[in-house]
């Protein structure tokens, strides 16, 4: 139900300037999502270059120096350009509608935080054409490889990271203020949908760690240009310090990329199981404990740097603990499905695949936390398989699930179910063919980030490359489905899905340009 306020309900500006000057949360959400998709394709092309080179032993397509640029840029673009903006886009579209607010709390800042991104990534990508090439030291940019030994473009990379950081910090401030101040009267924190909860926690993580990232790149900048020696042993500094600071940012960062996914899946599974989410409260507590633990486990990325045994043991135990709240979440999802009345539309398929494949990634993560075994796994394809399982069929699948789930609300049209399912199955099969064999090549001893490999790894790499191409090209189908849905299709109802609960489903489809100009009064159903 929606109350119309004629004086308020003007539409968007005409023409392209609408997108440049917009302060509307829906427009900005759309911008974020398209930007993220563009970056997803860019990073994807780089992934395919990597996989083509690795199709066979020997150097065929690219030389080692360009290969390193590809792995570095692929990582940076996927993490900062594809996954994070996708979730911010979803937050923009959904949080105001879910909490019954008319818009984000700081609309102009919202516009600004989006429009920094194209410049940040333009800068980063332009380094590919600079003398000496793009950054080539891995997305983790360990010193001194990135400081004393980095290409001249490193300075531009640092500037780019600063811009992304500013954008993320502004975005998260906006999200926190919106959630804490603009909830409809009567919506207590414990009535918020889980997506809002997970984003609230994520936004705090972002505010806490983005400045740490800014700090570490600034220290690099000083080392490179102003003769400091934070990370150079020759000048009294410490290369390992870099890793401590980086991972103090980096570990929470991986949860930044997965917590909103938990929120998405917690919205979708109840809808298609036609049953309330099991253990709502424990979900909130589990999310908070994961967020807390994420700050105190960073050195599990650094077990081989020579930490004393007490440190190794501490970081091992703390890391293992994360399995407990994560397990609680998985069990809750299964319990939500249990004795439901399920149907398997595309969003549900992606959500279920998320639970299964994310759990596989979680279990290999648990294996990685065991220090003596990690000595064998560390920096091999086993790690590559692990984090791609949590990031691709994890985060990325959850974004796809979200797009299919909310697209009818955004566009007013239903997507083509048969095509959606085809996209799902192609992606599901492609992703497993790509990453499952990498567990084996890793265990068998293949180091990561190498452009060429010993012959015993040849078969697994060839399979992996085939899967990557299947997955990559299936995403063009995704693009086609989205465009087709925007342009027309069966009209969506208000509720869209039979089992959907939550304030956004009380609005018309497509959601009008301005919604909840007056706060909704019926909140009983808010978190489904």
């Amino acid at each position: 139900m929606i109350t119309e306020h004629p004086h308020d309900s003007h539409g968007p500006d005409k023409g392209l300037m609408r997108w440049v000057v917009t302060t509307n949360h829906k427009d900005i959400g759309t911008l974020y999502l398209w930007f993220s998709f563009l970056m997803f394709l860019t990073g994807g092309v780089m992934a395919l270059i990597i996989r083509s080179e690795l199709f066979q032993p020997g150097l065929q397509l690219v030389q080692p120096e360009s290969f390193n640029q590809m792995t570095t840029m692929h990582g940076l673009i996927m993490v900062f350009g594809a996954v994070m903006p996708a979730f911010v886009g979803l937050a923009n579209w959904l949080i105001p509608m879910m909490v019954g607010a008319p818009d984000m709390a700081m609309p102009r800042m919202n516009n600004f935080s989006f429009w920094i991104l194209p410049f940040a990534f333009g800068l980063l990508l332009s380094s590919l054409f600079m003398e000496g090439g793009a950054p080539n030291f891995g997305w983790t940019f360990y010193a001194p490889l990135s400081t004393d030994f980095g290409p001249p473009s490193t300075t531009f990379f640092i500037f780019g990271v600063h811009m992304m950081g500013i954008s993320s910090i502004m975005g998260s401030i906006n999200i926190i203020v919106t959630i804490l101040n603009l909830r409809a009267p009567g919506m207590t924190l414990m009535k918020m949908p889980l997506f809002v909860w997970t984003w609230l926690i994520t936004a705090y993580l972002l505010i806490a760690v983005m400045p740490v990232l800014a700090g570490v790149v600034t220290m690099m900048l000083m080392d490179i240009h102003f003769n400091t020696a934070f990370f150079s042993a020759g000048g009294g500094g410490d290369p390992v310090l870099f890793q401590h600071i980086f991972w103090f940012f980096g570990h929470p960062e991986v949860y930044i990329m997965i917590l909103p996914a938990f929120g998405v899946v917690s919205a979708i599974i109840p809808t298609f199981a036609r049953k309330r989410l099991f253990g709502y409260e424990s979900m909130v507590y589990a999310t908070s404990s994961i967020a807390f633990l994420s700050f105190i486990v960073w050195a599990h990325h650094m077990f081989t740097v020579g930490i004393p045994i007490a440190g190794e043991l501490y970081f091992m135990y703390a890391t293992m603990l994360i399995a407990v709240p994560t397990g609680v979440k998985v069990f809750n999802w299964v319990a939500t499905m249990w004795q439901g009345s399920m149907t398997f539309e595309t969003p549900m398929l992606f959500a279920i695949a998320f639970v299964v494949l994310f759990t596989i990634g979680g279990l290999s993560g648990l294996m990685l936390s065991i220090v003596p075994a990690d000595f064998q796994y560390h920096d091999t394809y086993f790690v590559v398989a692990h984090f791609h399982y949590v990031l691709v069929p994890g985060s990325v699948f959850s974004v796809m699930a979200a797009v299919y789930y909310w697209l009818p609300k955004w566009t007013g049209n239903m997507y083509d179910e048969a095509l959606g399912k085809t996209h799902f199955w192609l992606s599901f099969i492609g992703i497993n063919i790509t990453f499952f064999p990498q567990h084996f090549s890793g265990l068998a001893g293949m180091p990561r980030r190498i452009p060429d490999y010993a012959l015993q790894f040849a078969d697994f790499n060839m399979i992996s490359s085939c899967g990557a191409f299947l997955f990559g090209f299936s995403q063009l189908l995704f693009l086609f489905i989205i465009i087709k849905t925007i342009r027309g299709g069966e009209k969506a109802t208000e509720q869209v899905w039979e089992g959907a609960h939550g304030l956004e489903w009380t609005l018309p489809s497509p959601a009008p340009y301005h919604t909840f100009a007056t706060p909704p009064s019926d909140l009983n159903d808010a978190h489904g």
Binding site: D148, P239, V305, F375, R449
Partner: protein
């Protein structure tokens, strides 16, 4: 010995190697325990999902239940994982303690990562008996660039392997000259980062003779994928013979330094040294990969005064990839490669430097 190497390759197929040390077998067992526990957890969780997806579907007329919390259940599935974690943590802790147990070693080897090769120094109280050599990839360029068929040990073979005796405690003192590398031999379950400015230790006692191969495991720049490790574990007698030969060879090299080398000898040796030690960065044609790796052809120090040219090769340039070759190559090789650079690719300066002069500079007799 070769057979041992092959057998080691064979069980590398899809799982972690069991390796050839007490520790590596413990690590393997630990890996299998946690792996099996994870598989069991997976079967239970995914099994429950499967059952639910089959039974509780709308198309079968399932009516949704209304339960949405159950405190007992929540406790249960918090406690059970904790118990499983403890079961994993116990053996992990004891294995880790064994790995960290630094006892008295029989042999100490300094392992130094240098962009893109390893330098091994067999430490000895008597410096004259210290053996030092550089171990780098021996796979021919033609195989890498697909002009020749790849041999069985493609990319995991080196010109000079590390040799160690079996059943002796060998201690590795691992460090780096430039960026961070990681020295990893899966069969020993030894992986340790080589960090400039730090020395970390690790150790092993190998109980089967054989050839064991590994690779650098930390991204270290352009040729990170091309810095393999090869260790030959041999009987103690064979080790002593090898060591004596190495010490003798060092003495012979030392003697050739004194003699006068002809220009042709220097150029011939210089070409080989250049291909092995310099071409990765400065390229075979001397043109480098600017701006990171400078060209030596017709420009810069290689065509300037010989003193400055010698200096950068002996001492490297701090903070760049240009290493100090004074500790990696012997004086004859150094003199040869300097002469070669000054006269190859049309540089044709016509001058040369003698090994004896290099030796003077190295032993502090410069200027």
């Amino acid at each position: 010995m070769l057979l041992g190497g092959n057998a080691a390759m064979a069980d590398w197929a899809v799982n972690m190697t069991q390796g050839v040390t007490e520790i590596s077998r413990q690590v393997y067992d630990l890996h299998m325990i946690i792996f099996i526990l994870c598989v069991v957890i997976g079967i239970v969780v995914f099994g429950a999902m499967m059952v639910s997806m089959i039974l509780h579907r709308k198309s079968r007329g399932a009516v949704p239940a209304t339960f949405h919390e159950n405190t007992k259940l929540e406790y249960l599935w918090t406690v059970i994982p904790i118990v499983i974690l403890v079961v994993m943590a116990l053996p992990a802790t004891s294995t880790l303690q064994d790995m960290y147990d630094a006892g008295e070693s029989d042999i100490d080897i300094e392992v130094r990562g240098i962009q893109w090769k390893w330098q091994y120094t067999y430490l000895n109280d008597d410096p004259a008996k210290e053996v030092r050599f550089v171990s780098s990839l021996s796979t021919p360029r033609d195989e890498i660039e697909n002009r020749a068929t790849k041999n069985e040990f493609y990319l995991v073979e080196v010109d000079e392997p590390m040799v160690i005796p079996i059943n002796k405690r060998v201690r590795f003192l691992i460090t780096s000259e430039d960026v961070i590398h990681a020295w990893w031999v899966p069969a020993f379950a030894v992986k340790k980062d080589a960090i400039p400015g730090f020395i970390h230790e690790s150790w092993t006692i190998v109980d089967e003779p054989g050839i064991y191969r590994g690779q650098c495991a930390e991204l270290c720049g352009k040729d990170h994928g091309f810095m393999p490790i090869e260790v030959h574990a041999v009987s103690e007698e064979d080790y002593e013979i090898w060591l004596a030969e190495k010490q003798e060879a060092a003495r012979v090299v030392y003697e050739t330094i004194g003699k006068e080398w002809t220009f042709e000898e220097l150029m011939a040796t210089g070409e080989t040294v250049y291909q092995q030690s310099c071409a990765a960065c400065h390229q075979l044609n001397g043109e480098g990969i600017p701006p990171v790796f400078p060209s030596l052809k017709g420009q810069g120090l290689a065509v300037g005064p010989i003193a400055a040219h010698t200096d950068i090769i002996l001492n490297g340039k701090a903070g760049t990839a240009m290493q100090a070759f004074g500790t990696q190559l012997n004086p004859a090789q150094l003199a040869a490669v300097i002469t070669y650079e000054r006269n190859a690719w049309g540089n044709n300066l016509g001058d040369h430097i003698q090994p004896s002069r290099i030796n003077e500079i190295l032993s502090g007799g410069a200027q």
